[in-house]
Amino acid sequence: MSKKTLIVIGNGMVGHHFLEQFVASPGAAEYDILVFGEEKQLAYDRVHLSEYFTGSTHADLAMGTADWYSAQGVELRLDESVTTLNRDRKRVTTPKGEYGYDELVLATGSFPFVPPIEGREHPHCFVYRTLDDLDAIRASAREGKSGVVVGGGLLGLEAANALTNLGLQAHVVEFAPRLMPVQLDTDGGALLRHKIEELGVQVHTEKATTAIVEGENARLRMNFSDDSHLETDLIVFSAGIRPQDALARSSDLEIGERGGVVVNDQCTTSDPHIHAIGECALWDQRIFGLVAPGYTMARTLSAVLNRDRDAAFTGADMSTKLKLLGVDVGSIGDAHGQTPGARNIRFNDEQAGHYRRMVISEDGKTLLGAILVGDNSHYDTLLQYALNGIALPTNPETLILPEGQGGAPALGPDALPETASICSCHNVTKGDICNVIDAGCGDLASVKAETKASTGCGGCTALLKNVVDSELEKRGVEVNTDLCEHFPYSRQDLFHLVKVNGIRTFRTLISQHGRGQGCDICKPAVGSILATCWNEHILATDHVPLQDTNDTFMANMQKNGTYSIVPRIPGGEITPDKLIVLGEVAKQYNLYTKITGGQRVDLFGATLSELPEIWEQLIAAGFETGHAYGKSLRTVKSCVGNTWCRYGVQDSVGMAIHLENRYKGLRAPHKVKMAVSGCTRECAEAQSKDFGVIATENGWNLFVCGNGGMRPRHGDLFATDLSDEALIRTIDRVVMFYVRTADRLQRTSVWMENLEGGLDYLKQVVLEDSLGICAELEEHMNNIAGTYQCEWKTAVEDPEKRKRFREFVNLPQQIDPVQEWTTERGQRRPVSESA
C-alpha cells in the first residue's frame, strides 16, 4: 500500500515540535512528510531571539539540524513559501511547484502588527520577529545613536533590551498608561517602568503615534497625538502579533472575526483534513501567543493523527515568568482579579523595588492569579498553588512576604501532588519525573534528556532541580550537599572531620579538606562547629574572622550600624537591684529599652566603642552575656510556677534557671529556645519552643522540636513524667544529637521533619540508645557546660580583645556621622528614611 502524504506549512518552534512528536509515533509510518519553511533557516528558538545580539548564532538557537530531518525521512523545503491552497484538489502550490496532500498542518505562526501610521514604510522602521529582521536592525543601528520600540509589552521590552545591547539609547513608546498592560496592574507597571528607566531606557506611556517623518537631529521624527514628538534613528514595531492566516483565508477556511484559523479541540479546522497549531490557530476565540500552549497543540494533533479519540486541547496556562532588561517579571493566571468575588493581597516594597500581588478566591482557599515585579523567587511556588489548586495556608500573605518577616518557605517538592505540572512547555508532571528516575535516570541531566523538562522556556529549571534532588534523595542517591564552593562537604560531614581529626582552626580545616579562602557561608558554620567541639573563646585570634558581626562584637547589629545588648536573665527572674542597674545603664548611654518576647530586656543604640564600657558595668552588677547574637541557647522562658501560682504543680522558674545555666553558651546550627510551664495551663508556651517542658503531678513532660516564628510548629511529646535528672539527661542527648547532625542554619523543627524515621527514630536513639552513642553525647554536653565562660567577661578583661571595639582605629573619639536620631514616645530611635 502506498503511503499518504502529510504536509506541514511553517517551520517555526511549534511546527518543529509537532514533527518531533509525530515522527516518534506509530502513525508516522503511514505518511510521507513534507515541510515548507518560508525562512532560509531551520526552525530556531524565537523565545531567546535577543540572544542573537549578544553572541548567539543561528546554530545556537536552532531547534534541530538538517541531518535530523533527513534521518527521520522528512523532506524539508526551506525558503519556499506556499502561495495557494486548493482544498478541492488537496494540493498546495509554491513558486517552485505543486504538491498533493492527504493531511495538511498549518503552523504558519503570526506576523507582527504594524499600526497604520503614516511613514511606517521608512527603511529604518523594523519589526522584531525573525533573524532577518534582527540582521536589518543591527545594520541600521551601526550608524545610529537612538532607537524607539513602539509597544511596551513583553516583546517590546525584549526588543528595547536588544537595542540597548546594540549600544543605542533606547526608548519605549506605549499607547496604554503602563508597561505590559496585559500582564501587569498599575502598581506593577509603575515599578517596572521605574526599574527600566533606572537602566537608562526612556519610557513614554499614553502616546499614540500619528506620523513618522524625516527628523532634524536624527533620521526620523515621531509625531504624537498630544502634539509632542520624539526624534530617533530607527523604529522597531512591537505592537502585538496577528495570526498568519492568509492561506486559510484565501481558501475559505473558517476564520475568526479578528483573524486566526478556527480550530476545534482536536486542532482541526473547518476542513477535516486541514489542521492548525500554534499562533495561527484560534481556539475558543483565543490566540495563544506563547510557546507552551503551541507545544500542547502540537502534541494534541500528533495524538489525533494517531487516531487517539481522547486527545483534546483544552486551553492552556498563560502564566509567564521572564527577566526583562534584568528585571524579574511574573504573571500568573487571573492576574487582574477578574474572577467574581476575587480578593487581593498586595506587598509593595518601593525601597527594595519588589511588588507582589496575589489574587485569591472568595473563600480564600485557592490562588487564582499573581503578579510579581522585581523578584521572581516566589513565582514557582505561587504557580504550583495556582495550577494544582493546592489549598492556601491559613495566612496566605506569608507566601509573598519577604523571608524572615513572616514569609513562608517555598513549597517543598514533597508537597506537590504527582499530577503537578513541573514543565508546562513539554507537559512534564512530577509523576513523569518519578517514573524516569525509577527507570534509571540518576541525575538532573539525564532526567532532562529523557523528559525534555526544562528544555523549553527554561522557567522551571530551579523547580525541576528541587524535585529531582528530592526524589533522588528519597531513593538513596547521593545529591550534592556541598556547603559552598570552598568545601565539598555537608555541615554534618565537616562536624565529623573536625571532631575525628581534632581540627581546631578554620585554616587547618580548609587547607586539609577545602579550597580557597572561605566565605560568609562556610566561615560562621565552621566557627560554630569549632565552638561546639572545643568551646574556645569566639574572639580567640583564630576564630574572630569566622564570626558574623553579631558574634564578633557579641551584640546585635541594628539597621544603622549600632548594636543592641541583651544581658542574660535566666528564667526571666530578676532582682529589683539588677533591674535598676539596667535602667541606669540605659539612661547613661541613652539606650532605647524594650522588653523582649523571651522575658529579657533589650537595650538598643549602643555604638561599637560603648559596648565594652557598658558591659563592664553590667558585669560588675552580676550580669552575663545573653547570647542574643549567637546561634546558641537564647532564653528559657517560664511561668511563675508553684512557688506563687495556686495552680502550679512544680517549680517551673527553678527548673528554667537550671536549664538556662546548663545550656547557655552552647553553639548550635541555629538558635535554640526553651520554656518551662508549671502546669498544663502552659502559660510559658513551651510547646512552641525547641525544647518545651511542662510540669505534671509526677515530674516533667518534655516536648521537642517546636517552633514559633515564621513557620509555627507544635513540639512533639517526647517523654512523660521525667524526674529532674532524667529530664536533663534527655535534653542533653537530644541537643547534642541535633548539634551533630543538623544542617547549617537548620532549626530543630526542620531538622525533625527531615530526620529519616522522624520522632520514633529520635526516641530510639535517645531513649533506647539504639546507636550506642548516648554516653558520648552526655559527656560532650558535660564538657561544654564545664568549660563555660561569659564571653563578655573574658573580652572586657583582655586589652587585645577590646581593641576590636574601636569605631575608627585612628580616631577613637570620632562619632559615626551617619547615625541620626529622633525621639519617639520618650525614647531615642534612628531616623528612618521611610518615615
Binding site: 560568609d520 566561615k523 550600624g561 575608627f808 559615626d816
Partner: protein, 122 residues
Amino acid sequence: MKARTCWNAVCTVEDLVPESGIAVWTEDGPVAVFYLPHRLPALFAISHTDPFSGANVLARGITGDLKGEPIVASPLYKQHFNLNTGVCLEDDSVRVKTYAVLLDGNRILLETAHKQREAVAA
C-alpha cells in the same frame, strides 16, 4: 588630568586583624581596611559605608573569596563586594569606592583625594 591625591598614614600593622577588617577615619570619610594574609597583595581598602543601608559597617563583614576574587559580605544585608573593584556581586550596578593602600614599614598608607588643593582651586 588625574586629580591630585595624597598618601596618608591611617594606622599601623598592629591595628589590623588578620582575615578581617578595621575602620579608619579619613578626609574622604570612613574607610574599611582589610588584611587577608593569605593573598598577595594582602591589603585592601574600600569605603566603610554599606551602599544598601547607608550604615558605616563594611569593615565588620566576613571576608573570603568567591571564584578566587577577594570579597567582603556586608554584615547587614549580606551582599558581597569585590575588594579589588568595589563592585557588588549581587547587583553590578552598585559599586563602593576603592582606595589604593600600601604598607610602609609599620604604617598603613591610604591614597585619598587632596582636599586642601581642591579647596584652593574651588
